[in-house]
């Protein structure tokens, strides 16, 4: 690729033919102790074609990129006051001034209007060399300003880490509306809440497919709790309940999106089943007396964590995906449930009861070390990971009503995503 050659970007072990859509990885951050990259995001300058709406979106795009990069924990977005003395012109970026202020990267975007659409560029430069690190042009309807901003934030994250960011990810959750519970989806930052189900029944336990295009959930819309798959591409809904399943609960997609693990019961004994999404066939993989519920695939697809009260109290177990080799994971606590595997497979986060209330606990599988992430005399439940393994979404009633919150994987920065209704059972898309 011409740009790679011109700026001498290194790429180790990459294929010879490079995808022009994949920005080059030249400034890779390695190691686990993350250093935050100091970065300046300058005001996006509107060109002559930009109308009032485009000018307004220029400011919001800059704000959203800044919020995305700050949230990621990978960047230190420099406050504008730091460079208020630097004179900015449309023609030139004073790289040396920004390097002196400590910035390593600098974003100098532009917004214009073409026909009914806005056109946004968010080029990222290296302040030391003045080289263009990444830069794409996005064009779309004005209502897509936030989406474009998230895309630019992901481009920037990819440039520095080699992995795309989570700025375009979404969170699905259950909202209590009237006497019913309805599935909703929002952006990971809490913006753009939209309602998916609208049947005034109970719709619970939503789970994203790995490609983020489908949702599996449990609905009482036909009376009994059944398993449904909602396709976000065409808005279709499919009853995917395997024949003979009386009580479908807690679906979870396999990492390849071909299978769904769920629990189902007959005669009061709940067990784990695997549904082949394409064929509709299912098979039972756990056979214990006692309830086996809440299955959760490992990222490799080779193991499944689940909850069972076979020993008396609900505890988390791990088994091979075929159902063999069951072993107990939780060794303390009277009630452990809702296991979720980190994307790297090294940790399992779950809800554990302390003094009658649930808190989120993370178990480092290699070290065998448990760490309690919440502690506030309220219930904190249903933890799920972000795809970069750096954040956890969960529900909590710490302010009275259940709401969706996110936190860093170490328990820091616990923030509520405001919703105008009670919200529970979150799941984070890739």
């Amino acid at each position: 690729m011409a740009a790679a050659a011109a700026f001498g970007w290194a790429r180790s072990g990459g294929p010879a033919a490079q995808d022009p859509n994949q920005p080059q990885i030249g400034l890779k951050i390695t190691g686990t102790a993350q250093r935050q990259v100091p970065i300046a995001i300058l005001p996006f300058h509107p060109d002559a074609t930009a109308d009032a709406a485009a000018r307004a979106s220029a400011e919001s795009i800059r704000a959203v990129i800044g919020a995305d990069l700050t949230y990621s924990g990978l960047f230190n977005v420099l406050p504008a006051s730091l460079y208020s003395g630097v004179t900015l012109t449309a023609a030139q970026i004073p790289f040396r001034d920004f390097a002196a202020l400590g910035a390593e990267g600098i974003v100098r975007g532009a917004v214009s209007r073409k026909d009914s659409q806005i056109v946004v560029e968010g080029p990222l430069y290296d302040t030391k060399s003045g080289a263009l690190i990444s830069g794409k042009r996005y064009r779309g309807d004005g209502s897509l300003a936030r989406h474009i901003a998230h895309s630019i934030a992901n481009d920037i994250t990819l440039s520095y880490t080699g992995r795309t960011g989570i700025a375009l990810s979404r969170i699905v959750f259950v909202a209590k509306i009237g006497g019913g519970k309805e599935i909703h989806v929002m952006d990971y930052d809490g913006a753009e809440i939209r309602q998916i189900t609208k049947n005034k029944s109970l719709n619970v336990s939503p789970a994203w497919s790995p490609d983020g295009r489908r949702l599996a959930f449990v609905s009482y819309r036909q009376g009994n709790p059944k398993l449904f798959i909602y396709n976000g591409e065409d808005g279709s809904l499919k009853d995917s309940t395997p024949p003979g399943s009386e009580l479908c609960v807690a679906p979870d997609w396999s990492p390849d999106g071909r299978l769904i693990a769920f629990s189902s019961s007959s005669g009061g004994d709940s067990d784990i089943f695997i549904l082949d999404v394409a064929t509709g066939r299912s098979r039972q993989i756990s056979f214990s007396r006692g309830s086996d519920t809440s299955p959760e695939w490992s990222p490799s697809g080779r193991e499944i964590a689940f909850t069972s009260d076979r020993s008396g109290t609900p505890q988390i177990y791990i088994m091979d995906a075929e159902g063999a080799n069951v072993r107990l994971m939780t060794t303390s606590g009277e009630f452990n449930d809702s296991a979720a595997w980190s994307p790297d497979g090294g940790r399992i986060v779950y809800a554990s009861m302390f003094d009658g209330r649930f808190d989120i606990v993370v178990n480092d599988l290699a070290a065998g070390a448990m760490r309690r992430l919440t502690q506030n005399a309220a219930n904190n439940e249903n933890p799920r990971w972000s795809s970069d393994g750096r954040h956890i979404v969960f529900s909590s009633n710490r302010k009275g009503t259940y709401k969706i919150l996110t936190m860093d994987a170490d328990g820091n920065r616990q923030v509520e995503l405001p919703t105008p209704f009670e919200a529970t059972m979150p799941d984070w898309s890739r």
Binding site: M1, N21, K136, Y138, I177, R194, D234, G235, S291
Partner: protein
């Protein structure tokens, strides 16, 4: 329409590498925001009927003292169960002929003090007018466990009730179970009393 909208739609947004100026069409996802309909329920109040006594005829020259209007307590309308014929399951359900039974925390076994209630329910189910109906047994939980675990616990409660009714002679073909977990509390409170009332099994008659 049950499903209001897709959560994504494809738009023609183009993503162009600035350096090469190659246009690559990239489809991107967009959003639809949905309005939530608010339902408001009104209620009407009827004025209490007043029984006015007629004024007595004047017997003397003395100006009669007008008698104050007497209010008589209104007799409540007595609702009596109608004759069996012609009544559907929903009418009987409204009458609450079958009583709920309650469970201990995290348990699904029938409590000894709940057996008389369950046995009384079984007697009613065996006899006219309820003997022709099927029965949906609902299992419910309090809010304290995780919701997914409560789905399984409610299922176990409903099934232990079902087993008990079978043992009392109700044919299994008349019985169906459903678990609502913690999703349908009868008491919205967050205390021991509310939890005790919510750990329950309810009975719903269904047309056979």
């Amino acid at each position: 329409m049950l499903y209001s909208a897709r959560f994504e739609r494809t738009l023609s947004l183009q993503e162009v590498p600035m350096i090469r100026r190659v246009r690559c069409a990239v489809s991107i996802l967009a959003v639809l925001i949905l309005a939530v309909a608010f339902l408001s329920a009104g209620c009407k109040k009827k004025p209490a009927p007043v029984a006015a006594a007629p004024a007595p005829p004047p017997a003397q020259k003395v100006e009669p003292v007008p008698e104050p209007v007497r209010e008589e307590p209104m007799k409540p309308v007595v609702e009596e169960p109608m004759a069996a014929q012609g009544m559907g399951a929903s009418e009987y359900n409204r009458q609450g002929l079958l009583k709920a039974i309650y469970f201990d925390t995290n348990r699904h076994e029938i409590r000894p003090d709940q057996r008389p209630t369950l046995e009384a329910n079984a007697e009613k189910l065996k006899n006219s007018p309820l003997s022709s109906f099927r029965i949906l047994i609902e299992g419910h939980c309090d809010e304290r466990n995780t919701s997914e675990y409560n789905m399984a616990l409610g299922d176990r409660r409903a099934n232990s009730v079902k087993q008990y009714l079978i043992n009392l002679g109700i044919p299994t073909t008349r019985l169906r179970t459903i678990s609502y977990g913690e999703e349908r509390p009868i008491d919205p409170g967050h205390n021991e009393d509310a939890w005790a009332r919510n750990r329950r099994s309810e009975f719903v008659l269904e047309e056979s």
